[in-house]
């Protein structure tokens, strides 16, 4: 049976893993290559590395980090942050990523999705959407630049457009829930998951096993991603997957 994926996310700044609460107050949580390997060994189904610095002078550091992490990683590996062109994407793939994740750049230049998909296949293109609840016509708007700027796009419609343009997966982050640990936004996740055919990865708000069960069962997510709950030992992946599996959600176990 196709299982629900549990994805460990590494937020990286200047070659080190950090994780903030609602994108602020970052803390250092270690070396990305080491953490990626440790997560894989403890049962992560996939690793996502997001470069949140994305400052131009740090690109070389990022590629080196990707290369080091990829060398001993034999599960799917996605890299995002600061990828603006086909050439940026190609460099990240050459360094060992299997998929790239694009957010702001896709909103600014939607055809970028098609260009990367054409060269590397749709399965390699993840469109990340940072969605925030709003009072306007749309229920959720897509934000850019680490959640600082609104794009004015309806998050659900944008997900559908991204699929039409060739995205292989949607990485959907609830800005309202990110870093809170109070659970995923199941309503948002379901709204997007029910309107596209490609897999949707829920992100933002994971605090415990029950939250994963809810977002798979009620949010119709195909995968769920978390960062901080894994890094600081609040919840080991092995235990988490066992707990999720015990509640009737199909997960890859043993790994």
């Amino acid at each position: 049976m196709l299982t629900k994926r549990i994805i460990a996310c590494l937020d990286v700044d200047g070659g080190r893993v950090v994780k903030g609460v609602q994108f602020e107050n970052l803390r250092d949580a270690g070396d990305p290559a080491e953490l990626a390997k440790a997560h894989s060994a403890s049962g992560a189904d996939e690793i996502v590395l997001l470069d949140i610095s994305a400052a131009h002078e740090r690109r070389a550091t990022l590629l080196d980090t990707v290369r080091r992490a990829a060398r001993q990683l034999f599960i799917p590996f996605t890299v995002g942050g600061g990828i603006r062109t086909l050439e940026d994407a190609a460099a990240v793939f050459s360094a060992g990523a299997d998929k790239i994740s694009i957010n702001s750049a896709a909103l600014a230049d939607p055809d970028l999705i098609r260009r990367i998909a054409l060269r590397f296949g749709s399965q390699a293109v993840v469109v990340a959407i940072d969605a925030k609840r709003c009072d306007g016509e749309a229920d959720w708007e897509a934000y850019t630049h680490g959640g600082r700027t609104t794009s004015g796009h309806d998050a659900v419609k944008w997900a559908r457009e991204a699929e039409d343009r060739g995205a292989g997966e949607i990485l959907l982050t609830s800005m309202n829930r990110d870093g809170t640990g109070i659970g995923f936004d199941c309503e948002l996740t379901r709204a997007v998951a029910d309107s596209v055919r490609i897999p949707v990865i829920a992100s933002g708000g994971a605090g415990g096993a029950q939250h994963f069960v809810e977002v798979f069962r009620d949010g119709h997510a195909d995968a769920a991603l978390a960062a901080s709950i894994f890094h600081y030992g609040f919840s080991r992946l092995v235990d988490l997957k066992q707990e999720i599996g015990a509640q009737g959600i199909p997960v890859r176990w043993p790994c």
């Binding site: 196709l2 001993q72 034999f74 590397f120 399965q123 897999p199």
Partner: protein
């Protein structure tokens, strides 16, 4: 030397990385001559079935066919495995290598497509490629079309019906999933292939 055939579709770094990890001498190549002199040939593949047409244009298809004719072990991965069949509904005018009978087809409307993620193998005990891989093992898939279950199927997977997850005949092997992305199980399979 193992030749990893590059026909301009997708990213072959992961396959190379896995073979490097296993200590195998290997090279990514788009040169028919290098394919012809290889001791093993791996054809990875992501993307569209139509992208395999470039194999024909560049002479790589002939080099692969010749190498297979000489008994050189061959492994097709994902679209690389689908290409071993006669054709695919994804691109009806594109001819596959045709060393296996049948046509690759799309998933039924009852399931989400593409099929992405970790799913389980139902393994035939006789498989040499899957020696040491137990039924129920999880491997990583990402594909929108699938190969039928035929006499050469050595592992099935269930997603909107059963399909071929692995095929094998003599020195010809194919896997729909990505062994280079399937953790220890995938490495075990690649190790088996390297030992043929």
């Amino acid at each position: 030397m193992i030749a990893i055939v590059d026909y301009g579709a997708g990213n072959l770094v992961s396959v190379k990385k896995a073979l490097d990890w296993l200590g195998q001498e290997c090279a990514i190549t788009s040169e028919p001559a290098q394919v012809a002199s290889a001791t093993k040939v791996v054809l990875p593949g992501v993307g569209h079935f139509a992208s395999t047409e470039s194999l024909e244009r560049t002479g790589l298809k002939q080099a692969i066919a010749d190498s297979i004719g000489r008994g050189i072990p061959f492994l097709g991965i994902c679209v690389g495995m689908q290409w071993m069949f006669e054709r695919s509904q994804e691109s009806p005018q594109t001819r596959g290598l045709g060393v296996l009978d049948g046509e690759c087809e799309r998933f039924p409307g009852s399931v989400k497509s593409p099929h992405v993620g970790w799913n389980q193998l139902e393994v035939e005990a006789s498989s040499r490629l899957l020696r040491g891989v137990a039924s129920g093992s999880f491997v990583y898939f990402t594909h929108s079309f699938r190969a039928p279950v035929t006499g050469t199927t050595v592992a099935c997977c269930e997603y909107g019906g059963r399909f071929s997850a692995a095929v094998e005949r003599d020195h010809l092997f194919g896997v729909q999933f990505h062994p280079e992305k399937s953790g220890e199980i995938g490495l075990k399979l690649l190790r088996n292939f390297c030992e043929f």
